[in-house]
């Protein structure tokens, strides 16, 4: 694997492979990580305090609407995380990018955790408002499928003795699962569901009061930085662990040769 990064690939792949050099990746990510971690923590905590204590209650839902500041960002990150997993999978399958493999394996568990958080907080919100912890409508079911796709990816990537085969199988599963993303997004428009349609739309103004919108956006930004920071830290660890394995193996072979 390291031999591949040693020979610079021709033209098109070169820009991509600049970041495949583990040393350069560790150097750059080491500088970016603290900034992301501080932004993630700072924005999320500010958003939480704003949402809990300063944002107004909803005229119907009362204070239960404050669950939104956890539920909606984790729902967005569940989908965006899967999108980043899919992008890594394309980089892996088409360009054989070695860092994309490591990143994909680390995105899986984090994405699964955010999806679980989305499902759990949705359940906690649904009980007092709808009157049910869970219903099998198209939105909830498609997000549950997303959770299982994440779990499947986590298991598949780690299921093979040869990590390369695991990465390949995981990338294919991740790309097949992309079909689910538009289904999640548009489920509330295509079919009638118990879950309400989107409040923040690509077209038209958000049907939400500004005093609630600002903390929501802050939390979403904080969650995004937090997600990225956790994935980056895990990928850094994975790069170093791979190097440790490589060094130990080289040493063992040297000992055998002697």
């Amino acid at each position: 694997m390291d031999a591949r990064t040693a020979n610079p690939p021709p033209a098109a792949g070169r820009t991509l492979h600049r970041f495949a050099n583990p040393g350069r990746f560790l150097r750059i990510s080491g500088r970016v990580l603290p900034v992301m971690a501080v932004l993630g923590l700072g924005l999320t905590l500010t958003g939480f305090v704003w949402g809990l204590f300063f944002a107004p209650a909803d005229w119907q839902q009362g204070d239960a609407v404050r669950i939104m500041y956890v539920h909606v960002p984790s729902a967005w990150l569940a989908s965006f995380g899967y999108l980043s997993l899919a992008i890594c999978s394309v980089l892996s399958l088409v360009w054989r990018h070695p860092l994309a493999d490591l990143a994909a394996a680390e995105i899986g568990p984090v994405g699964a955790a955010f999806t679980a958080l989305c499902l759990a907080t949705g359940s906690i919100w649904g009980k007092p408002m709808w009157g049910a912890w869970w219903v099998w409508d198209a939105r909830l079911t498609s997000v549950l499928v997303l959770f299982f796709l994440y779990l499947g990816h986590v298991a598949l990537v780690r299921a093979f003795d040869d990590p390369q085969r695991g990465y390949r199988a995981g990338a294919i599963l991740a790309l097949i699962g992309v079909v689910n993303l538009p289904i999640i997004k548009f489920s509330v428009d295509w079919w009638n569901t118990l879950h309400q349609p989107a409040t923040i739309k690509f077209t038209g103004s958000p049907t939400m009061y500004v005093g609630m919108l600002w903390p929501l956006l802050l939390c979403a930004l904080g969650f995004t930085f937090g997600f990225a920071a956790i994935v980056l830290a895990r990928t850094r660890a994975a790069v170093m662990e791979r190097r440790i394995r490589g060094l130990l193996m080289a040493r063992a072979q040297e000992a055998d040769a002697r």
């Binding site: 560790l26 150097r27 080491g30 971690a37 999320t44 939480f48 809990l52 209650a57 009362g62 204070d63 239960a64 404050r66 669950i67 956890v70 539920h71 984790s74 984090v110 955790a113 955010f114 679980a116 958080l117 759990a120 907080t121 906690i124 919100w125 009980k127 007092p128 937090g226 920071a229 956790i230 830290a233 895990r234 850094r236 660890a237 170093m240 662990e241 190097r243 440790i244 060094l247 130990l248 040493r251």
Partner: protein, 46 residues
């Protein structure tokens, strides 16, 4: 505040997930850095 238990449960879960994953990532990173520094012939600055 209405629905206080529900709100606390939701925020509590968020804090729990965030903390567990952050601590785990940080611990994994520093353990890998230590092990690498111990066996890597080249000087490694994580």
């Amino acid at each position: 505040m209405t629905h206080l238990t529900y709100i606390m449960a939701a925020y509590g879960l968020a804090v729990l997930v965030g903390t567990v994953f952050s601590v785990d990532a940080w611990a994994r990173m520093s353990r890998a850095r230590r092990r690498l520094a111990a066996i890597d012939p080249r000087a490694n600055r994580g």
